[in-house]
C-alpha cells in the first residue's frame, strides 16, 4: 500500500469494538476477507446496506470488484500508526 504503508511495516490498530463506530471514508482499515485473508486497504465508501468497499486504483492490486463488499463485523479496526524502517506515520 505504498506510499502510506510500505512492505514490512508494522501498524498499530484501534480495534472496532463499538456498535456505533462507523469508519470514515479514506480511513485505512484492517479487515478479514474470506478469500484473501487479512487485508489492509483504504475505505472508499460505505453504502446504505452496511457494505464497505475498498479500492486501490493500483496496478497489479485487487480491484473493488475482486475485494467485494465487506461487512462491519469483519473489520478489525482502523490503522492509527504506521511504523516502517524509515518513517512513522500517524493516521489519527
Amino acid at each position: 500500500m505504498s506510499p502510506e504503508i510500505v512492505d514490512k511495516s508494522y501498524v498499530i490498530v484501534k480495534q472496532n469494538n463499538k456498535a456505533n463506530w462507523f469508519p470514515k471514508k479514506n480511513s485505512i482499515l484492517i479487515f478479514n476477507h474470506e478469500k484473501y485473508g487479512i487485508l489492509v486497504k483504504k475505505l472508499t465508501e460505505a453504502d446504505n446496506h452496511g457494505n464497505h468497499w475498498f479500492c486501490s486504483n493500483r496496478k497489479y492490486s485487487l480491484s473493488k470488484e475482486q475485494i467485494g463488499p465487506i461487512k462491519k463485523e469483519n473489520i478489525y479496526g482502523k490503522v492509527l500508526l504506521v511504523i516502517s524502517k524509515k518513517n512513522i506515520g500517524f493516521y489519527i
Binding site: 508494522y10 484492517i30 487479512i38 496496478k59 497489479y60 485487487l62
Partner: protein, 167 residues
C-alpha cells in the same frame, strides 16, 4: 529504533500479518512497456533470421539462438501482461464508451502476441506492433494527450506512437 524494537517483539510474539496486495504507487499506467516489448520481439525475429542465413551454426550461434527464442517468449508475455493490466484496471466505463473498439483490439493483441511467440513470423509481429500502437494511441487520447509517430532510434527502427507531453 521503534521499528527495531517492534521487530524484536514480533520475533517472539508473532503478530498477525495483513496484506495489501499491491506493489507500486497509484495510477501508473503506460503502454510504452508493451510497445518496447513488441519491438524487442521484432528485433529478436530479425536476429533469428540472420542466424538462419548461416550455413552452419557454431556453439555460440546455437547459444545465441536459444537466448533469442527465450527473449522473444519473455517479451511476448510482457506485451500480454502490460496490455491486459491497462485494459482491465485502467479502462473503465467512460474510456470504454469513448473507445468501444478497445475490447476487440485487446483481444487481437492477445492473439497476436501468442502468434508471435509461437512462430518466427515477422509479418505477424508487425501486425502486433500496429495493434499495440493503436492501443497506445487510444490510451493517450483517453487522457487528452496528443500523440505523434516517430521511428525508434534503435533497431528495428520502426514507428512507435509517443505521447506529446509538452503540448
Amino acid at each position: 529504533m521503534l521499528y527495531n524494537l517492534i521487530d524484536k517483539l514480533n520475533y517472539s510474539y508473532k503478530f498477525e500479518e495483513a496484506k495489501a496486495h499491491c506493489d507500486i504507487p497509484c495510477k501508473i499506467y503506460d503502454p510504452i512497456i508493451a510497445q518496447i516489448a513488441v519491438l524487442t520481439m521484432i528485433r529478436t525475429i530479425d536476429l533469428i533470421n540472420e542466424l538462419e542465413e548461416k550455413d552452419s551454426l557454431t556453439t555460440t550461434d546455437k547459444a545465441q539462438f536459444s537466448r533469442l527464442v527465450s527473449q522473444k517468449e519473455e517479451h511476448g508475455i510482457k506485451v500480454k501482461e502490460e496490455v491486459r493490466v491497462i485494459w482491465g484496471d485502467y479502462f473503465k466505463e467512460p474510456q470504454i464508451s469513448a473507445f468501444p473498439e478497445i475490447h476487440d483490439l485487446t483481444h487481437k493483441i492477445m492473439l497476436g502476441a501468442s502468434k508471435s511467440k509461437q512462430n518466427v513470423d515477422k509479418k505477424a509481429s508487425l501486425e502486433l506492433l500496429d495493434n499495440v500502437n493503436r492501443f497506445a494511441e487510444i490510451f493517450w487520447k483517453t487522457k487528452n494527450v496528443n500523440t505523434f509517430k516517430a521511428s525508434s532510434p534503435y533497431p528495428p527502427s520502426l514507428e512507435l506512437v509517443y505521447p506529446d507531453l509538452k503540448g
